[in-house]
């Protein structure tokens, strides 16, 4: 529990510390925001529209693949702890599990679903 307390404390102290440092900026370098200083930079000409848009994420099949692999990791962590005690059977089980998942990658790659441009 002590470790977790320390991790939480370090997280929040760093977070708040950085936010305070950033806020202190206005005392060192005060700024007044004007319309021409707010234009997004693409080389000196102003955009027509907001940049925020229904952004076409080209890698959506890959992101779905990732969801499945993220699940796989959940299984692997506890497996790693008991692996040596369980012995060969654990190795075979994980081997089968992984090979099944590798077929997923193979299929995706073969369908050229990892590329987008």
């Amino acid at each position: 529990m002590h470790g977790i307390a320390a991790a939480l404390a370090i997280f929040f102290v760093t977070l708040v510390g950085f936010l305070i440092l950033r806020a202190s900026e206005r005392h060192i370098a005060p700024s007044k925001s004007t319309a021409p200083a707010r234009v997004p930079f693409t080389g000196g000409r102003a955009p027509d529209t907001h940049a925020w848009n229904r952004y076409h994420v080209r890698y959506y099949p890959m992101s779905l693949l990732f969801l499945a692999f993220d699940m796989e990791m959940v299984f692997m962590y506890p497996w790693a702890v008991v692996f040596v005690d369980e012995g060969l059977i654990a190795l075979i089980e994980m081997l089968m599990f992984i090979v099944i998942l590798l077929f997923g990658i193979l299929y995706t790659w073969r369908e050229r679903a990892l590329e987008w441009a």
């Binding site: 994420v57 779905l64 693949l65 994980m94």
Partner: protein, 212 residues
Amino acid sequence: MILNVTFWAFSALAVFSGWRVFRADSMVRAAYWLLVSFAAVGVILVLLKAEFLGLILILMMGGEMTIMAVFMVAFMMNPAGLNPMTMVHRNSVAIVAGVVSFLAIAALGVFARFPVARAPVGIDPTRRLGVELLGDSMLVFQTAGVTLLAAMIAAVAISSARGRFGAGDEGSVEPDQLVPDTGAAPERVAGMQPGGPDGPRDPSPMAAGGHT
């Protein structure tokens, strides 16, 4: 004492951020408020001595909520909420449903008799989880594997516009199964000619040699 304060603080954070999810105009904000809520629940799990489950929840939700954010941005009108909007519809029904389900769950929590089973001291939950997963039969692992494989193949088959036989809307259909033209053929963007983006890349770009 500190433990209790931390627990209640993160519980409050989980509820607060859960509420913010529905008040945020921006899809990115909504997704990441949900991530905050999950992370707070993760910390609560850790405080309840389920350290592995708590941390893995945070680990997974980092990627997952990001994916949710990009999908929501891609498919929602006005994704950044530049024009304010409400994500709550049919308020009266929602309120009734919310109150009823809250009461039901609360009643369960208050009135149900939970079994009392004290866990032995010094137990390693991660190890126990591993033993449980591997266990005597391979069923857990292999079912999970096959399910995930099915999910992957289905996701790719449904979502990918391109395939090994060419783009999804032209090459993958057997000719005699082509539906007669109903005028609903997908429009192709001007300039997207074969040989440009989709065309084959030169197979041997390395093969060039110069002579002087």
